[in-house]
Symmetry: none
């Protein structure tokens, strides 16, 4: 969709659309979608408004692209983990751990995701929610599989468990700091552990 470099690969001069997306991500996470002006984005990216509107149809489109990127990434990873040939509890633990790690590694996207979705146009919101639902359904089916196999408590509502866990994941952006005492993997380990303990048969 957008070329990788301009000119011929000079260091530090990523292609214009990439630079725009990167700066938009940073600014949206920092001060919110509505509080970030198109002017600020283009200034940060070192181009003019015309350039932005050459590559993106609207400010809204930028946000949609950011969503697309993170959703694609997480869906791919979940698919890979779910398809493994290991016991369900292990796959659930890995899936949980993995989504925490990638959420932290892309903390700006995580922040934007759950703060700004309402600022997308209705149609785009619908598309994003549908993709998100598919992701949740894949995660939920791991829980259902574990219940069917007798690993997890049968009295739990799998959809509620998913909402419970992803609430925690989405919330990461509001408290996690890269320079805090915890590494991404430490948080991931503990969150995964809490989830497994909460669903496992005693």
């Amino acid at each position: 969709m957008a070329r990788t470099v301009t000119g011929g690969g000079e260091s530090g001069t990523a292609a214009v659309p990439e630079r725009l997306l990167a700066e938009a991500t940073r600014l949206f996470a920092e001060r919110g979608y509505d509080r970030t002006s198109v002017q600020e984005i283009v200034e940060a990216a070192g181009v003019t408004k015309g350039a932005l509107y050459h590559y993106f149809g609207s400010k809204d489109d930028l946000l949609h692209e950011i969503y697309g990127r993170v959703l694609r990434l997480q869906t791919e990873r979940l698919d890979a983990i779910a398809a493994r040939d290991t016991p369900v509890p292990e796959r659930l633990a890995e899936a949980a751990s993995d989504v925490v790690v990638t959420s932290i590694q892309n903390l700006d996207d995580t922040k934007i995701f759950f703060r700004s979705i309402h600022q997308l146009s209705p149609e785009k919101q619908k598309a994003v929610r549908a993709e998100r639902r598919r992701y949740h359904e894949k995660f939920r089916s791991l829980i259902e599989e574990g219940q069917a196999a007798g690993h997890f408590r049968a009295d739990l509502r799998p959809d509620l468990v998913v909402d419970f866990f992803f609430g925690s994941v989405h919330h990461l952006g509001t408290w996690y700091h890269a320079d805090g005492p915890l590494s991404a993997h430490e948080v991931a380990g503990e969150f995964s552990d809490l989830l497994l303990h909460s669903v496992r048969r005693p």
Copy 2:
């Protein structure tokens, strides 16, 4: 429910500031703080802008008032529960259940809280975060008490557990619907159960 300051008195003619707060809450939850104009709020409340600015210093002040209300309510309830004379696991379960129920009963406030805090002025944001922190600390001390008493797993980081659980609570606004299949108490029961299972000694 709302004090009648001027004339009136019949239901439906609540005092102007109360009406403004109620409509602002509804609109902020519905379309977000930045997407709600002062004009829309005063129209919904049936007054003019001048009236709003007679009672509130700024749009920002309205949001702050809304936060204050819900924080006061939840803090009071948590204090009451924590002070009970029952075993810690029971108190934690009740605190967890209660915060879910009141979050659902005030779902508009919950939605606003989670989404709009970044749109407060820096000073007000600081004040709100400080109050929120005190609330979390009180909740955390229940977990610490349970660990000390040998009820809960000692290897857990209490602060991480709090962030884990309140992520789930704050997230309620993004998926819960009053006309869905689950009552507030059903969700509360399951969330509380998940939390307790995740922290209890096996």
Copy 3:
């Protein structure tokens, strides 16, 4: 027009209209008529808006009152000086000196006078300008008298001399400070001296 004290003469409690005029004068001089709100005036005077509108028909009226006060004062003093039985050059010198002294003693009024006259309603502006013109004419007639008597240069246009001199007087408010190196009388002496030298026959 307005009583002098309320209650019975307690110190520091001047009557409401006087207090309003005094605070309005101070504020208009400090930040200009348009930049001073009625709210600020009533707060400074320790009353409410209703009280102000009880005594004055409009914000405009306050300004008109302030003008009236200073015009009356200066007209009275000029009349007294002009009527004296001394040689014209002496009377002109005293009139010039006196208007400088009273302008400095009422520096707030002086500042307001030449900055805010355009903010009066057209009718009030007309009235004030007419009074001011009468004052200038009286001053001018001193110069004409001096020319007729052979004291002053006959080739000067008396009206231009008046505008020349009163420009200097009106300008006092922009540079004179009570805590500066010059007393009101020192400035008055020098201004008067400059005027007399500029008109006298060599």
Copy 4:
């Protein structure tokens, strides 16, 4: 007179920023800075608000630009006159005469200068006052030079003389009318003559 930035070129289609400055000058002089709305300015210039804010950061900026223009003009002219190789009294007379002529030729700027400086933001006010002070100092040094050379009375305070004279100059805007009986040069001649007589050794 005004550079044509976009298209156009024919007289009457001056560039947008020039047109905005011209109309703003006219309107500020006519009804004062605070009483002139941005809406009125853009309507007079035949553009929209967006265009104004494309070129000027604020209404305040417009005023600052107007000040800058007139200060630059007068400073240049005074520098040229002061640098001449003629006797000091002649140079002072010419400087005085020149500032009167240019003040009358730019009477709108003169009116604005005198009345609206207090409505500039504090920082801009400081900048303008500093420039004005440099101008006054240059003028004052002419007087000091004349005193040192024995042309002017030694007992006069040069700074007071400057304030005396520039009061008269700034005041021109309040009484001079182009369609009145006096030409700019007639006024300039008389003002200059009055100044010289007031300072010269008898």
